[in-house]
Structure formats: C-alpha cells, structure tokens
C-alpha cells in the first residue's frame, strides 16, 4: 500500500476518533511528568479532547455516509448520532471523575483518564464499524479498559467487583464470539454488508436454523454489555463496588455502546436475512428477545424493591431500563424506531448520570439520603427530578422517552401486548423504590446537620443534567430535531 492510496481515503471520517486517540497519548505521557496533586489539569485536558470530538461530530453531521478502509469503518447517520451520545455521556462522566475524591487518595486520576478515554474510543469504533472484526476490536477495547477501571480503587470491594466483571465479561465475550463465528462460517465474510446480501438470498432451511442459533447466542452474549437478562447478575455487585464515576460510565456509556452493537448486528444482518413465511429472521425470532425483555423488566424492578443501597437499586433499575429499550428494539415500528432508542438513551443518560452525581457526593447507602432536603435542598430537588424522570413522571425527559417507546410498540406491525403491559407494570412497581428515596430525603430527619461540600464539577454536572432533564421533558423537540435533521 503506497502513500497515495493511503492519502486517498477520506480520513476526516475518523477525526473524532483521532482526537480522542491523540488525547490518550498526550495524557499518558503527561501523567508521567506531572506533580502528585496536579491531576485536575489532566482531567480538564481530557475533557477538552472530548469537547473537540463533540464539535467534530457536529461538523461531520452534514456529510453523507463515508465508508473507508474496505468498508470496515462506516460513518453514517446512525454512527454520528450515537457517537454524539457516547461523547456527551463521557464528558459528564469525566467531570464527575475530576470532582471524585476519596478520603485516602486511593483513586489514581491519571490512569483513570486515559483508560477511560480508551474505553470511549472502543465504544466509538463499535458505533461506526461495518465489519465484525472492527466491531469486536472496539468491543474488546471497551471491555478490557472497563475491567481495569472497575478495580481502580484497589480496595477489597472494588477489586472483588473487578474480578466478577472480568470473569462474567470473559464468558460473555466468548459467547458473543461464538455466535459471530457462525455468521462468518455461514457467509464466508466478516463484512456486514456482504452478510446482508448473502443471508437475504438464503432459502436453505438448515442455514436458517444455524442462523437462528447464532441469533440467540449472540444476543445472550451481548446482553452482558447492556446489562439485561440473562447476563445481568454482574451489574449490582460491580455497580456497588466500582468508583462512582466508573459506575456511571458503565451504566450509561457502556450500555449505550452495547445497544449500538446490538442494532448494528441484529438490524442489518438478521433484519434482512430471509426466514420462514416471508418474514425476516429478526421478525421470526423476536419473541425470544421479547421474553428476555419482559424478564429484565420484572427482575430489575422486583429486586430493586428490596435494595438498601441506592447504587445497587439503580443497578437493578438499569436492568429494567435495558428491558424498556428492548421493548422498542423488538417493536420494529415503521414510523419510529431509531429515534425512540436514541431519545431514550439520551434521557437515560441525563437522569442516570445526574443521579450518580448526587450519589457520588452523598454516598450510596439509603440512610445517607435521610433529611437531605434539610441539609442541602438544591441537591435534594435535583435528585427528586432525576428520580421522577427515571420513574417516568410527565414533565421530565423520562416520560417523553417512555411515551415514545409506547408509541413505537403500538404502531408496530405485530403488537405485543405482553411487552406493553410489562412496561407499564414495571413502571408502577418502580414508583415504590424511586419514591422510597424521596421519602428519605423529605420525610426523615437528617442524621447529621452539616452540609456535604460539593466539588464544582459535580455541581456543574448535576445542574446541567437537571436543566436538560426538565427541558427535554417540557420541550423535547430540541433533541428530536437534532435527530431528524441529521
């Protein structure tokens, strides 16, 4: 390959990735030379990298679909919009990390920044990969970096969580890879666009049978990343043990990346593969995903009822939310589809990061929320809004997102009543535990009278999330316009 071919590629498609990569390299070098306490500068540097990446995604928004490197890297509308989500989420998490303090300085900020950005890079690559290889490389980059991130605190709980995460993650990855290997074996290509063509013409029932197997195995493997049934059991322990910024990263950015992967593979490969009765494989096999979605909603909401730790509770609630998004995922409505999932992930990003930001300063145990309204009213009100939004109360982004899912489900060609009922039933159950936190904040007397001091960056995250959770609840058009104009 000579230099001319190399230059003939439209490298600008990868500008966001390049910016992040450059930031990673610079930070890892700078980390070697910095003074002990000067980690804040690194944080701001990393943050500026993300900001530039966001800007570059916006600039690229006007471009058409660019496909480079033998179609392994595709920058289409889907990639841009979801990459934007990943970057915005990562920006918030970074701000949280800058303000993250432990009593004994056991949290290595420098390492966090570049590992975190590496994980982000993996997620970004996943969102624009047009080939199973790049997809898997991105997935592993994300996974391996997150394993280390979970254990960064080097405390017993953190290490235990990291170990659980590695083992579960390893198994899940193996299962995913097993499923993907079927796809390669059947089509003889790792390129998604090739597979689409090959499977679309396939009439052979035995191939369909193996494809169905690949469908189920791959989904089970990927359910790890989105923290959904059947691979959900890691979530509570890991969420609780990991440092809070990492938890918010796992519950938002990593989950978004999981959904990106799911949509990329399932919608294109199985959504076009021919099945029986003129249906596609996806349509034929979606009852299985529907069952898993219902299970996720039930398991998440029911077990969340009994949690005494807000971090664990949010872990179970995040399982339930994954189930809600899967409801939209299997609905295949002709009118709303990607916009529903995108908007839900955006709303989920805002309310969940907001809630984790509050937990980061208040602490995870439910008693620490007692009387919060008395000691720090602003934080209490912000938390109330995030919880209301998670519960899907109108006036917040969470409600619009949930309504959007309901619309998607109702306008789909084959309406699954069980899904809708599970969604609404789960919502009612979730009222109990979300309002339980509010009961602590407003109805119980505070344990200690003094105010908790809040780092500026965390304050900023809480404020921004609060404003946008409300703004998107009252005027969601601004986000929907970004999606539909793009």
């Amino acid at each position: 390959m000579d230099i001319e071919t190399l230059l003939s590629y439209e490298w600008k498609a990868m500008i966001p990735e390049f910016i992040i990569l450059l930031t990673i390299i610079l930070i890892s070098i700078m980390d070697l030379f910095r003074r002990k306490k000067a980690h804040q500068w690194l944080g701001w540097f990393a943050f500026s990298g993300i900001v530039f990446a966001i800007i570059s995604v916006f600039v690229l928004l006007g471009e058409g679909t660019i496909s480079i490197l033998y179609d392994t890297f595709v920058l289409d509308q889907f990639a841009k919009l979801f990459k934007w989500l990943l970057l915005v989420g990562a920006g918030f998490v970074l701000l949280l990390a800058v303000g993250y303090r432990t009593g004994d300085n056991s949290f290595p900020h420098g390492e966090f920044y570049y590992l975190f950005l590496t994980a982000l890079l993996g997620a970004m690559i996943m969102s624009s990969s047009g080939d199973l290889l790049t997809l898997f490389v991105g997935l592993e980059l994300l996974s391996i970096s997150s394993y280390i991130l979970v254990g960064l605190k080097k405390k017993r709980k953190s290490t235990e969580a990291a170990l659980k995460y590695v083992i579960n993650g390893g198994i899940a990855t193996a299962i995913t890879l097993f499923g993907l290997s079927y796809l390669y074996g059947l089509s003889g290509s790792t390129k998604i666009s090739d597979m689409v063509l090959i499977f679309a013409q396939n009439q052979d029932a035995s191939v369909q049978y193996v494809l169905g197997l690949a469908f189920l195995v791959t989904f089970v493997g990927l359910s790890f990343k989105i923290a959904s049934v059947p691979f959900h059991m890691w979530a509570p322990d890991v969420y609780e043990g990991a440092p809070t910024p990492v938890t918010s990263f796992l519950s938002v950015v990593s989950k978004t990346a999981g959904f990106i992967l799911l949509i990329r593979v399932f919608l294109s490969v199985f959504g076009n593969a021919q099945g029986n009765d003129g249906l596609t494989m996806f349509e034929q096999l979606k009852p299985f995903i529907a069952i898993l979605a219902i299970l996720a909603i039930i398991v998440g909401n029911v077990i969340a009822l009994r949690q005494m730790n807000v971090k664990r509770m949010l872990a179970y609630s995040s399982i339930a939310h994954a189930g809600y998004i899967l409801v939209a995922f299997v609905s295949l409505s002709p009118y709303f589809y990607l916009d529903t999932i995108w908007f839900y992930l955006l709303a989920y990003l805002l309310m969940n990061i907001g809630a984790f930001a509050v937990i980061q300063v208040i602490g995870g145990r439910i008693e620490s929320f007692a009387g919060l309204y008395r000691t720090s009213p602003f934080i209490a009100i912000a938390m109330t809004v995030f919880l209301l939004s998670l519960a899907g109360i109108p006036g917040t982004a969470g409600f619009i997102a949930k309504l959007h899912i309901l619309l998607t489900a109702f306008s789909s060609s084959s309406l699954e009543w069980a899904l809708v009922i599970a969604l609404l039933g789960g919502t009612i159950v979730s009222y109990v535990y979300y309002f339980g936190v509010m009961v602590q904040m407003y109805f119980r007397p505070p344990k200690k009278e003094e105010r908790t001091s809040i780092p500026t960056t965390v304050w900023l995250v809480v404020a921004i999330c609060l404003v946008f959770t409300l703004a998107l609840g009252i005027y969601p058009q601004m986000a929907l316009d970004i999606f539909h104009r793009g």
């Binding site: 109108p394 489900a409 609404l424 009961v439 929907l480």
Partner: protein, 502 residues
C-alpha cells in the same frame, strides 16, 4: 386551528407568581408566607369568576381557546394539513370545565386558609400545595390528552408529598397506597392515551371526539376495551367500589386542609374524565356499559352508607360518605338520560362544596381538640356554637335537605335512574335514608350531649367564619338557583346524549 388568546394560560399558571414569591421567602417568616399563599389564590379565583360570569352573559368560550404547536414525534415531512404524531399545546374550556375551574379556585382559597393550622415546614407545605393547584387548574383547562396527563400526574406527585409529610401518624402508608393505586390508574390512562395517539396520530380532544363519533375505522371490540380501561382508570380516582381503600386512607390520614382539595376536587377529576373522555369519545360503548355503571354505582352507594353507619371516627364517616356520594355520580351516568347525566354532574359540583365545608370544619375541630373520635367529642353546641351550627348545616346539606345543593343533585340523578331501572332506583333510595342516619348520628354525637373533650374551646375565628359562610352560601345558592349550574352544563349533557343517539 390557532387560538392565540392567553387568558387560560394566565389562569392556569398564575399561581406560579405566588409560588415564586413563597419559594424565595425565608422559612422563618411564617406569617408572610401564609398571607402570600392566600393572596396567591386570588388571581385564579378572579379570572375564573370573571370568565364564569361572562359566559353566563353569553360570551363565546371558543374565543379563549388556545392552540400552539409544541412537539412532534417521528419524521413525516408534510407540506400542509396537520402533521401526524404532533402534539399541540391546547387549552380550552366548556361550561362544565369552566365550572370545575371555578370550583377549584374557590376551594383552593378556602384550603389555603384551612392550612393556617399547619405549624411545621409551612413553606414546604405551600410549595407542594401550589403545585397541586396548578395541576388541578391544568387538568380542567387542557384540551389535549397529553397535556391533561401532564397536569394529572402533577397532582399525583404533589399530593403524595402533602400526605406523606404533613399527615398524621400513619401518613406514609397512606401516601404509598395513594401512590400505588393512582399509579395504576394513570398507567391505564397512559395505555389508552398512547394507544389512541399511536393509532390516530393525534391527542387533541376536539379532533378525537369528532373522529371517534364519525369514523368507523376502529373495530367495536377495540373501542369497547378502550372505554372499559378508561372506566377503570378514572374509576380508581373516583373511586369505585373495589378500588376505594386508598381513598379512605387519604381521607383519614392526610392533613384535613389537603383533604378539602382531595375530596372536593381530585376525586372529581375521575368523574370529569369519565364524562369528558369516556362519554365524549365512546358514547355508545358507555351506553352499553350502563348496567355495569348502575350496578357499581349502587354498590358504592349502599356499601359506603352502611359502613359509614358503624364508624366511630368522624373522618371515617366522611370518607365512607364520599364513597357513597360518588355512587350517585355513577348512578346518574349509568342512567344515560338527560336527568341522570345532569344529576351526576350536579352531584360532582355539589359534593365538591359540601365535602370541602365538612373537611374545613373537621380541620377546625381537630385543631381545637386534637381528635375527631366520635366517642371523645360531645356537646360542642354549648361551647362552640358557631362551629357546631355550621357542622349541622353541612351535614344537612350532605344528607340532601331540600333547598340545598345536595337535594337537587340527588333528585335529578334519581329521576334519571327511575326512568331507566325501577329496581336500582328503589334500592338506591334505601341509601338515602341511611345517609340521613349516619350523618345525623355522627353530627349529633359531636354537637350535643356531655362535654367530653379537652382542649381550648375557641369558636370560629373571623377568617374561618368567612370561609365556611362562603361555602355555605354556595351550597344554598346552588340549591335555590340550580339554573346557575344547569345553564353551564346543558351543553355537556347534550353532547353526551347526542352521541348516544338519545
């Protein structure tokens, strides 16, 4: 359709002004906060009264309609005509909803006075109270299902806090049962709204009403289950018989000042929803459900009355009496004729005033004697004659004495019921006798007999007297001049009946 009037927006959101003032007050200035809170309920009261009077002078309410583009789902490039899956910010009133707005404003002013009793966290109380106020106004003024649901849930959350923080010893349990039951109700409502939105592409109430009445593209089975789900959703709020336990808890354990609004307005949202959306969208389906409505109404009426008879706590008596009185609403609606529907709507208004008056008095009794137990109260007529007198008046209104509002509504509802079904009517009348028994039993136990209670025997203060006199005046006013109300609701009744082809 673009309405640009801003009167209704002003009306619904005018409490925000006072809310802002209260929010920025220091917690210590309790007196100023209380004054501000009462003053803040005046602008909506003035606006709604003004509209109400103008309406009776022949003003066309279509002139105050508002519609602004708000949000839209999905991607449908259309050049002209209404875009599917878009939601407009629509406010409008008809005679019935204007009446409810007016009732809301009056009762809120009264409730803000009653809340003087709250001693702790006064500021927080009024903040939640004002959110509730905005929610209630919005519910009656909105002309779009989406907007309706938004305000509906606002009342849910704010009342949850009012019950859970300022109620009595078992307040949190009451707050939770309120939350769960109403959560189920709103989930069912959301189910219906989302389904309608997804299949018709609109949530505008006007468009939907004409759509459902003229278009046959919906299968009748679909319409029937939509109607039934709506019935359950609003039935929980009303409440209908097996779903009533939450409402007893709220009546008994919530602060009485908030129960004024709960019993006076919030329960009526159930009836309002049934009439405006249930009967408005699916008249023939509801006509088919008429036996069910009659039966449930009768059960409510008798069950509430019988249980009220054996209660030993005044608040419980009133709670069961609310169950019983809501039965009359259901009976009237189930009769599906002019007198019945008119009686039902009349009962909604009349019970709003009567329940508010009763709970205002409960509030004053509790403030003075710290109990509402019938066994521990007695002889109030001796020591606090004004209070006892008003209590007697309120109970007479509640049992439907002629010349008061309760009489008119019961009369009309039963005229309607007798036209439809003789047996149901005959059974229902038993309950009216029971009503007289339990009301008099309870009130006589409190007002006459030996003095038993400890506490300061201070009679009604001037602001309390003013509030109860105003409420009493309205009760007599409606009882003596029912055309005040009938003129307002005649259009709604006609619309309901037209849809049934009757």
């Amino acid at each position: 359709m673009e309405g640009t009037s801003i009167i209704l927006t002003c009306l619904v959101f005018s409490p925000f002004l006072a809310l802002l003032f209260i929010a920025f007050m220091s917690k210590q200035e309790v007196k100023t906060i209380r004054t501000l809170a009462v003053l803040g309920t005046i602008p909506p009261l003035v606006l709604s009264s003004w509209l109400f009077i103008k309406y009776h002078q022949g003003y066309d309410l279509a002139l105050v309609e508002e519609a602004r583009s708000w949000l839209s789902f999905g991607f449908f490039p259309v050049d002209e005509g209404p875009r599917p899956f878009s939601i407009e910010y629509e406010l409008a009133v008809n005679g019935f909803s204007l009446l409810m707005l007016w009732l809301t404003s009056i009762l809120t002013t009264v409730a803000s006075v009653a809340a003087f009793r709250i001693q702790e966290k006064v500021k927080g109380y009024y903040v939640a109270f004002y959110f509730l106020f905005i929610g209630m106004l919005g519910v009656f003024a909105s002309n779009n299902l989406f907007l309706f649901f938004l305000f509906f849930e606002l009342t849910l959350v704010s009342l949850f806090f009012l019950i859970g923080k300022w109620g009595d010893a078992r307040k949190e349990k009451a707050a939770y049962s309120y939350l769960i039951y109403n959560g189920i109700g709103s989930a069912l409502l959301l189910l219906v709204i989302a389904f309608i939105f997804a299949t018709t592409g609109t949530t505008s109430i006007d468009e939907l009403t004409s759509f459902f009445r003229n278009d046959d593209s919906f299968q009748s089975g679909t319409k029937a289950w939509l109607a039934f789900t709506l019935f359950i959703a609003f039935g929980i709020k009303l409440p209908i018989f097996p779903f009533h336990t939450w409402m007893l808890n709220v009546h008994v354990h919530a602060p009485p000042a908030a129960v004024i609004l709960h019993a006076g307005i919030l329960l009526k949202i159930g009836a309002y929803g049934l009439i405006q959306f249930g009967f408005g969208f699916f008249p023939s389906e509801f006509q088919a459900m008429s036996p069910l409505l009659l039966l449930v109404g009768l059960v409510n009426l008798l069950y509430g009355a019988v249980l009220a008879l054996i209660q030993t706590e005044f608040k419980r008596v009133l709670a069961y009496s609310s169950v019983s009185h809501m039965g009359i609403v259901l009976l009237g609606l189930g009769a599906v004729n002019e007198a019945g529907v008119q009686g039902a709507i009349f009962q909604v208004i009349s019970h709003g005033f009567i329940a508010a008056l009763l709970f205002f008095l409960v509030n004053t009794v509790e403030m003075r004697f710290q109990t509402t137990d019938l066994a521990r109260l007695g002889g109030l007529a001796h020591h606090v004659p004004k209070l006892a007198g008003f209590l007697l008046v309120a109970s007479l209104a509640s049992l439907g004495l002629p010349s008061m509002s309760g009489f008119i509504s019961e009369l009309m509802a039963f005229v309607g019921v007798f036209q439809t079904s003789l047996y149901i009517g005959a059974f229902g009348v038993i309950a009216l006798i029971l009503t007289a028994m339990y009301m008099l039993r309870a009130v006589l136990a409190i007002t006459f007999g030996q003095r038993k209670e400890e506490g300061n025997h201070i009679d009604l203060k001037w602001f309390e007297t003013l509030s109860v006199s105003a409420l009493t005046a309205f009760i007599f006013g409606i009882g003596l001049f029912p055309q005040w109300v009938t003129d307002s609701i005649i259009n709604t009744v006609q619309i309901v009946l037209n849809g049934m082809g009757g």
